[in-house]
């Protein structure tokens, strides 16, 4: 074991501790982490996405992205990182389809069913790519709210017939282990944790009925909110900038399951609520809602949902 590798493992260990997962692995187990030969292979595809999950992935801090690429997983293809261009990419993906299996498939964005031409790569619809690649994968990760729960490409008023990855697998009768990591964009710590869990324990973390890791999504924003006491005392902010619970300005914290109030964003630099803005529910099944931030006493907000 060289010292560089040991340092890398130490930083990886910090992520695990930060994610509250220390009881699952011990440090010694991690030291026996994969080698070049058995590193898991990762294939990352963009559905109808904005690339936000990919750029968030680049922000992972405890370990550098280069360490991840060189020591943790083999990124066979990523649309924003790969030097491979054009036909080289199609060659890689066709090779995977016909000759390989056991890789991890990450999908960012929705899958348009009604208008398959709304998401193409190499003249083939994303529906075809997922149909041919998913059965070869060992597990699938729905990265971000679009792939996990619907999100923007499935918002009210869209016409492409966007499906989540889970819906699509059901629709195509493909049975594969799936993890859904909502949040818009996906949190990089969440995916690293899931990959580690699979790597070290050979299985996925415990999931809820929407395939979200219970560890991160069991509780709502509201349950851990810095204003929870104010909420209980009915001390509500009436304007942006007021101290107190933001419920009456549109906060979606009570209906949004996520761990933002524990780990924050961008290396715990900030959270939506700490920055004075109500939670807009970006990790929820109903994102985006018809009204988000609104005035105190806005009468429209009382009956504010589209007919679902």
């Amino acid at each position: 074991m060289n010292s560089k590798r040991r340092q890398f493992i130490q930083r990886l260990w910090q992520i695990i501790v930060a994610a509250g997962a220390a009881q699952l692995f011990n440090f010694e187990e991690l030291l026996a982490a994969p080698t070049a030969v058995n590193r898991p292979r990762l294939l990352w595809l963009h559905g109808t996405s904005c690339s936000g999950c990919s750029t968030a992935f680049l922000d992972i801090e405890q370990v550098s992205i280069v360490e991840i690429l060189t020591q943790f997983v083999d990124v066979i293809f990523h649309p924003d990182l790969s030097l491979a261009t054009g036909e080289q990419v199609i060659h890689i993906l066709d090779h995977l389809t016909h000759h390989e299996d056991g890789f991890i498939l990450v999908l960012e964005g929705g899958i348009p069913i009604k208008y398959p031409h709304a998401c193409l790569m190499g003249e083939r619809p994303m529906t075809d790519w997922i149909t041919q690649l998913a059965p070869r994968a060992s597990m699938l990760i729905a990265a971000g709210t679009c792939a996990a729960l619907g999100g923007i490409p499935k918002m009210n008023g869209t016409v492409t017939g966007s499906m989540t990855l889970r819906e699509f697998l059901q629709y195509k009768n493909i049975n594969k282990p799936l993890v859904a990591l909502p949040n818009c964009p996906m949190k990089p710590e969440h995916i690293v944790y899931v990959l580690l869990h699979q790597l070290k324990l050979g299985q996925l973390p415990e999931l809820d009925e929407l395939a979200r890791p219970i560890k991160f999504f069991e509780r709502t924003i509201h349950e851990r909110c810095i204003y929870y006491a104010d909420f209980q005392e009915r001390r509500y902010a009436e304007r942006i900038g007021d101290p107190g619970c933001l419920l009456k300005l549109g906060c979606q914290g009570p209906v949004t399951h996520n761990d933002c109030m524990r780990f924050g964003h961008n290396h715990n630099t900030n959270t939506c609520i700490r920055s004075g803005h109500p939670c807009i529910g970006c990790a929820s099944e109903r994102f985006p809602r018809q009204i988000m931030l609104h005035r105190y006493g806005d009468r429209r907000a009382i009956h504010n949902e589209f007919d679902a």
Binding site: C50, E61, V66, G157, G241, S275
Partner: protein, 516 residues
Amino acid sequence: MMTRCVVDPMTRIEGHLRFVTHIENQVVIDAQCSADMFRGIEKALIGYDARVAQQVTQRICGVCPYGHAEAAALALEHAMNLRPNANGQRLRNLIVGSYHLQDYLLHFYALCALDFIDITAVLHYQGQDAGLLTVRDWVKQEMASAKVFPAAPFLPRYEAAYCHDPTLNLSAIRHYLEALPIMATLHRMVALFGAKAPHPVTIEAGGVTTIPSLDSIIQFRTWLIPVAAFIRGAFRDDVTAVAQAFRPYFAEGRGAGHLLSYPFFPDATGANHAFAGGATLNGQYQPLDINKITEDSVRSYYSDQPDRHVKPLSSRHLTPIDWAQFNHERAQPNGKYSWARAPRYGGAVMEVGPVARIVNTYHAGINPAVTSLVNQYNQALGLTLADYPSVMGRHLARLFNALLILDRLEQDLEALVPDQLGFIEQPVPRNAQGVGLTEATRGALAHWIATDDQGYIQNYELIVPTTWNISPRDASNQPGAVEQMLIGTRIQNSAAPIELTRIVRSTDPCIACSVH
């Protein structure tokens, strides 16, 4: 003999892009760009609360969400007849400015550098830098392995003429590795006042919801120090060195060179922008007139009529063609071929982006810092303004933008008042209209909003930077800006057309934005 050269998928850009060229005697004689992804966010916004546009439209793009957040807030402020106070404007500048810097580094290092820099040069590395040693040992190990795709995602690549200078190769690869944590730091700076990055929530019509504290200001300043050192040092050196090593690329990918930009980066009053709006046509600058903007969709995958000279907000529908019609259109020689529409300025095809900001601001003469930076580089590198709309000119102009924005960030940070709210609340306007103009790193961005009698969105329109650049042909069959840049290019090897991918990447396309 004519050959057909297709690049699909075009990687290391945002989103799903395909382009098809026809090549005769090694020269591109025709080119078509297809934006291959559609969500329909623009018209889906109808019926949502006016403030929702800010949160939803920034999710059009995970690379430049700040631009959409700002444009949406500006459009609604225009409809409200409201300007944020000085703190609100400064906070917005700090969020948007930091994000611009992150975006420039992402584009140059993660997306473009390895089109010029030879990554395999790392195999000969002999020094002590830990990052380079890790990469070297890893590449060696991978090449020796029996893997089908060794050293992915860095290989395979187009085998072509990369940089031969071993010093530049190694220092740029080292900076590639160093740029990643700097980019993460810039995202943290966005999060300090924006809550998170990507997709900061706090930019709202009326200002920014975050109250800056002395602590957060000090934190921002602490993080700005290594960022500023990297941009004024490594980034500046790398861009300048690559520009010198690839000098012929000041003549590649020129296109028509008509340049459009919107006013960007105001002072605390919301005026006196650092970058001028305007249009340069045939080298002649004119002030901005947004009434000249129209869109065609004759070659785009929509069935709505009219399909030409459509003004913003004049239609509430955007109807995609179905799968059968799509296949029919793709089979026609003159059929529809892109989800992007074709915006035009007084009928002209315009390039937007860093070059437009620099050249238009230079012509308008409003910012002495721009004038002196351009003069200095023109003299040092033997350039004229006409050389900027080109592959290398775009990279160089991005460096200028970064240096100028960095200076402004430092000023805005010093003037920010701690513990003072930068947000003014007003009810969402009823039966009102507004337009918001700003610049994403990749170019001129405009949002138009109309609200109904309850403050819900009655109509929304977006004309986005990459739509200008990547647009398909219009009603008079004029090719779009990037299509024009590709036509006339001489290529060495149509199996690895790196000349073409360098041109396309130099415009920093964002397909998710272009179609939305």
